[in-house]
């Protein structure tokens, strides 16, 4: 009975997502495309940043590698194999990056990941200009004949990303990653090979992020280093996961949903409030404020806080029963 109840929510959500394209305008379909895409990459990040507690601020590295791998290979080997190549290349690149960055902990790990992503951004813009066309932009072959199908591609990607990360998170690996997040030394004393599991989480995360990058490139039709290797991509993935609830199953989806709709609403209604001077900057000012407030008052994110509040209530009920019993 409990297993069945656990699957009501995902089914309900999927049905809703399946209905949306038939009611929504293409504009909102595109908004949902970005919600699904970045929720998927958010799930991937959540493995490393949420469950394992390794705050990667450089996931754009894998996103960009996936995007360029797809863009450069699709014309030669076709879209399907190109997506596969994107997945493989971003996973392979995660090995050396992981080996370098995982020697460090906490803020130093975060700083190292930023440095890696920035390094790839500069290399793609200059040194590898011959290959990537640098900032002049690279035309990208479409993944699907009709642009409105990208909605389903992104939805599929998100479901796969959710499934993979949920499976891992609720298995032995998930327990081990959480132990690493809580205290890496203690984790080692219960036989956990912490470097190996951190790298394992990063490889899976990079694979999914790389695929996300290839879908992003195909939908946009052209890519430049600034679009796919930029800190904006890394930060967006981290903030949506934190807002939704890092280390929770559904956090990234809730975070992606709120961030995308908030920026769309802000862009439209705030845009023509003239007294603000640069209305768009005001929108991002609110975005920064939202992050500060979430970190200060709701560090577990929306889903995390709701779960904690529920557990508090459940534990309270439990305590009443047991004190009577002792």
């Amino acid at each position: 009975m409990k297993r069945l109840r656990a699957w009501i929510l995902p089914i309900l959500v999927l049905i809703l997502f399946a209905l949306i394209p038939f009611t929504a305008s293409f504009y909102y379909q595109q908004i949902f495309f970005y919600i699904f895409l970045f929720a998927g990459v958010g799930f991937a990040w959540n493995l490393v940043g949420g469950y394992a507690g390794q705050l990667s601020l450089g996931h754009a590295a894998f996103f960009g590698i996936g995007a360029y791998a797809y863009a450069l290979l699709a014309p030669h080997i076709g879209t399907g194999p190109a997506v596969l190549a994107a997945a493989v290349l971003s996973t392979v690149s995660a090995a050396p990056i992981g080996l370098i960055c995982f020697r460090l902990r906490g803020p130093y790990f975060a700083l190292a990941t930023i440095a890696v992503a920035q390094l790839l951004l500069v290399l793609a813009t200059n040194q590898f200009k011959g290959l990537t066309q640098g900032a002049a932009g690279l035309l990208v072959q479409g993944m699907v004949p009709d642009p409105s199908l990208y909605y389903w591609v992104a939805l599929g990607f998100m479901v796969v990303a959710f499934a993979v990360t949920a499976l891992l998170a609720t298995s032995k690996t998930g327990y081990y990653l959480m132990a690493i997040r809580e205290d890496e030394d203690t984790a080692q004393t219960v036989t956990i090979n912490t470097p190996l599991y951190k790298l394992y989480a990063l490889l899976v995360s990079a694979l999914l992020t790389g695929v996300g990058g290839s879908i992003f490139a195909a939908n946009l039709g052209t890519i430049q280093p600034n679009d796919v290797f930029s800190a904006a991509i890394s930060n967006q993935v981290v903030f949506l996961a934190i807002l939704g609830g890092a280390g929770t199953l559904y956090g990234p989806l809730v975070g992606a949903f709120i961030l995308e709709f908030a920026s769309d609403w802000l862009k439209n209604s705030v845009a023509n409030v003239t007294w603000l001077g640069d209305a768009n900057a005001f929108a991002f000012f609110l975005y920064g404020l939202l992050i500060v407030l979430v970190v200060m008052y709701m560090p577990a994110g929306i889903v995390g806080t709701v779960a904690k509040w529920r557990k508090g209530r459940a534990a309270h009920v439990h305590a009443q029963r047991t004190t009577a019993g002792v």
Partner: protein, 286 residues
């Protein structure tokens, strides 16, 4: 030309060092991961720009004003936001300060819009020439002021009562509290001091570099690279880290090409993180 490049590197390095120095107090000693450090440098630049354009105040004079204003701004930010999460995981430090950085960047954009603002000083492009070497006057003045600030900071941290309290807190906050140090007040003071030095760095940068809302992020990463390279918590370390990066950037630009200065800076940073995680002078923190 090699000597000229080294000299340019040292002059540029002094500016890098002062950008990193404020952070070496905040991140190095107090362990507060301030990802908005670059935005405070930007704040110093905008303060100096406003004073220069509105009152014609020479930037090297307004350094004091930006020091005081940023000091108060830093204390306010610490009191309102950072103090609440200081005990929490470092991940929250990073996210909170990144959020603050985003707020400052966009506040600047709302007030000053996105134009790249510069100030034209009579001497910002004039050189002193001696023995075949060209020393840019603006860089030279900034080099000297940076050296003075570094010395003052070193003296303050090492010799004064508050400085000793700050170092005590950085070693063991609980023990410091037990020995009568008002930890919260001193931490706030140290944070304010770090931000004030960032403001002064902004003042010294303006004669040489434009300011627009996007410069904050670049300076934040640069400051972290310098503090980590120089070693945690040591003012001297970040001075050396800054000079080192300045020389590396200039040599790379001259011998390999301008974009290689960024590439080499990141590569050196990653290598030092890998092989000498404690940085050149500081304590290990793998």
């Amino acid at each position: 030309m090699f000597l000229q490049t080294i000299v340019n590197g040292l002059l540029l390095g002094a500016l890098y060092a002062i950008v990193g120095m404020g952070l070496s107090i905040v991140f190095g000693t107090m362990r507060i991961v301030n990802f908005a450090h670059g935005q405070f440098v930007m704040a110093g630049m905008y303060i100096t720009y406003t004073l220069f354009t509105a009152f014609g105040l020479d930037p090297y004079v307004s350094a004091l004003v930006s020091f005081v204003l940023c000091f108060l701004l830093g204390m306010a930010v610490y009191r309102v936001a950072i103090h609440r999460i200081i005990r929490g995981p470092e991940m929250n430090h990073i996210l909170l300060t990144a959020g603050i950085g985003l707020m400052l960047t966009n506040l600047a954009q709302m007030v000053y819009n996105t134009n790249q603002l510069t100030i034209n000083l009579s001497y910002s492009h004039r050189d002193l020439v001696f023995g075949g070497l060209r020393i840019n006057i603006a860089y030279l003045i900034s080099f000297l002021i940076a050296a003075v600030v570094a010395a003052l900071l070193f003296w303050f941290i090492m010799k004064t009562e508050t400085g000793r309290a700050i170092r005590a807190i950085s070693q063991n906050a609980a023990a410091a509290a037990l020995s009568g140090i008002h930890v919260t007040r001193v931490t706030m003071l140290a944070f304010g001091l770090g931000i004030a030095v960032a403001g002064v760095a902004g003042t010294l940068l303006l004669p040489i570099h434009y300011v627009d809302p996007s410069v904050g992020d670049a300076f934040s990463l640069l400051a972290f690279i310098i503090v980590v390279l120089g070693g945690m918590g040591s003012i001297l370390g970040s001075a050396i880290g800054g000079l080192l990066i300045g020389v590396i950037a200039q040599l790379a630009s001259y011998y390999l090409g301008q974009s290689y200065s960024d590439v080499l800076t990141y590569v050196v940073f990653l290598l030092v993180l890998l092989f000498k995680p404690s940085g050149l002078l500081g304590r290990s923190r793998v």
